[in-house]
């Protein structure tokens, strides 16, 4: 079977596994669902009321039946009702998602705009001082947690310039693009910092590999200018690992936004998960986790498809 067919076939299977894991995990929470929902007020319920509530939420049925009806609901876009917000979980998630998506996209731009040129630059100056400087910087960048970057940026701004990043009310992009970008740029740099370092390292080593290939030597000996060899001949082939990394990292950016959104007080999906956990809003936790995992998997699938298009060896089943 070709790689692509196998990949497409396992996708729904893994997704099913993810749904089982999330479903079971939430049911492992100590205490029953009704107590979790009503808190201390659950103690005031009469046994009859409790039974009625159990029947209403369907938690008096066997676990498999519960899973099945829950899964059917999920497939129709019903992720349950958030207890805290009193709204369908999906509605809240979709309200918060654009911010996190924008944040992830912007940090990816930051990472690629910084990382790719830095990596190519370092590769062309292999083992020279400037290469070493880029590598040291990339190593430090990779070792700095994004929330530390965020705190240091906020500190540098407030101590050096006496300003604080615009927090408080968040402006959506469509309402006021400039204000929105002003609010998002620091979080994007924060989230993209370590990612830029990874891109630098990967693109440097990929470029080094490619630059030692025969076809690059041929191009050089033909008299093709160095610039053109690097950017037109070598870079496109060095991009494959960068594309993979970007795809995988993009999924992580969607999840890793938790800390950055928390630091900059941005009402995104990551912060929603955190709030839901702290407020014990299990329907919302379940919905958010499922939503993010689904997106993560779709992104990974798309990366694999892009990979196949870029590298025909995999399509023929040799890469595996």
């Amino acid at each position: 079977m070709s790689y692509l067919a196998r990949r497409l076939l396992t996708f729904p299977l893994v997704m099913l596994g993810v749904s089982i894991l999330v479903f079971v995990a939430i049911r492992l929470v100590p205490g029953d669902a009704i107590t979790a929902m009503l808190g201390t007020e659950a103690g005031l319920l009469t046994p009859a009321q409790r039974a009625a509530l159990s029947a209403y939420f369907g938690i008096d049925k066997p676990i498999l039946v519960q899973y099945w009806s829950w899964l059917l609901g999920v497939l129709q876009g019903d992720l349950g009702i958030s207890v805290i917000h009193g709204k369908p979980a999906l509605t809240i998630i979709l309200e918060r998602f654009p911010l996190t998506l924008q944040l992830a996209l912007m940090s990816m731009c930051v990472a690629l705009l910084v990382g790719l040129p830095a990596g190519v630059f370092a590769a062309t100056r292999n083992e020279k001082i400037s290469d070493l400087a880029v590598r040291i910087f990339a190593m430090i960048g990779q070792s700095t947690p994004n929330f530390v970057v965020g705190l240091l940026i906020i500190y540098a701004l407030s101590a050096g310039f006496g300003i604080l990043p615009a927090m408080g009310e968040f402006t959506p992009f469509l309402t006021d693009p400039l204000r929105n970008l002003g609010q998002m740029i620091l979080p994007a740099i924060t989230l993209g910092f370590a990612f830029a370092a990874s891109v630098t390292r990967i693109s440097r080593s990929a470029m080094l590999d490619v630059l030692s290939d025969d076809y690059v030597r041929t191009a050089r000996s033909k008299g093709v200018p160095k610039r053109s060899v690097i950017w037109r001949h070598a870079l496109p082939n060095a991009l494959i690992p960068v594309v993979t990394l970007s795809g995988v990292e993009f999924g992580y950016l969607l999840g890793g936004a938790v800390l950055v959104e928390q630091i900059y007080a941005l009402p995104g999906l990551g912060r929603l998960v955190l709030e839901a956990i702290l407020q014990r809003d299990y329907a919302l936790v379940q919905g958010c986790v499922l939503f993010i995992a689904f997106n993560f998997m779709v992104v990974n699938l798309l990366v694999d498809l892009a990979y196949v298009t870029l590298d025909p060896r995999i399509r023929l089943g040799e890469g595996n």
């Binding site: 596994g17 492992l28 705190l151 500190y155 969607l254 800390l259 998997m297």
Partner: protein, 279 residues
């Protein structure tokens, strides 16, 4: 011994190795209570004191010595990191080895479960586990261990499959070596190199995750100290007391840097493919 010599003749191995050794010593001192002051003692008169001879890194809002809390916090973070990576290594090795050896249904089952675990962004899976069990030091250990197990399983299974197909394993079987002997002597010993690299890099990653979880208030709980917790406490005070931010921030960065450098060096040394000049 030759391994140590190899690490210390590798430039980033030398730096990384030194950093890791220093941190381990500091962590042990911090955990066994050998710190300049008691990390929990509140010197009320000296609240938010800048660094000086008595308080090398200043004091926090409650008048607690930052240097002592930092040492204790490093101990705490290292405890979580080492325990979680140890569990993940053992679990991943057992699962990966048995999946490769027995194959068929067991292999399929193990690898599909690992696929499911890998379908979550790491921090999200950790958050889900903490949401279920409740925050705390040992929950962090379990969460990080579960997140990292699939990676070790994959690291072990791939090479184990290719070693299993080699002639010397067939030979061992015909000699009548027991299954356990073949699995531990022939397979496991040949997997030490990739595992060592992965363990070092996993330690860097789990330090990072532990710090993040405690920063969110979902890891180590106060009054115990941890690097992430110290950073969270510094948030509202950083303008007046920057030492509360700078010292833990630098401490986290350098610890992760140490393991990353060491991991890179080990990969260069142990993986013959990336070795630049053949001996």
């Amino acid at each position: 011994m030759s391994m140590l010599r190899a690490i210390f003749s590798h430039s980033s191995g030398r730096i990384g190795g030194t950093i890791v050794v220093i941190y381990v010593v500091v962590a042990l001192l911090g955990m066994s209570g050998i710190t300049p002051h008691n990390p929990l003692q509140q010197f009320r008169i000296d609240r938010l004191h800048a660094p000086n001879a008595a308080y090398w890194m200043g004091t926090d809002l409650f008048g607690r010595d930052v240097a002592s809390r930092l040492m204790n916090g490093i101990g705490q973070s290292f405890l979580v990191a080492f325990c979680s990576v140890a569990i993940a290594t053992v679990a991943g090795t057992v699962l990966g080895l048995t999946a490769a050896w027995f194959g068929k249904a067991w292999d399929g089952l193990v690898m599909r479960i690992m696929d499911v675990l890998l379908a979550f962004p790491a921090i999200l899976l950790a958050l889900l586990i903490i949401a279920v069990v409740g925050p705390g030091t040992w929950t962090s250990v379990a969460a990080i261990a579960i997140v990292y197990t699939p990676i070790f399983t994959r690291v072990v299974r791939g090479p184990a499959l290719s070693i299993k197909a080699r002639e010397f394993v067939d030979a061992a079987r015909t000699f009548g070596s027991s299954r356990r002997y073949i699995l531990t002597r022939h397979l496991l010993l040949n997997l030490v190199a990739p595992l060592t690299v992965q363990v070092t890099l996993a330690l860097a990653w789990s330090l990072l995750t532990e710090a993040g979880l405690s920063f969110l208030g979902l890891g180590t709980q106060p009054p115990a100290s941890s690097l992430g917790l110290m950073l969270a406490d510094s948030r509202n005070l950083m303008e007046n007391a920057p030492w509360l931010l700078i010292f833990p921030a630098v401490a986290i960065m350098i610890s992760i840097l140490g393991f990353n450098l060491l991991g890179d060096a080990l990969r260069d040394i142990l993986d013959p493919k990336t070795r630049r000049s053949a001996p």
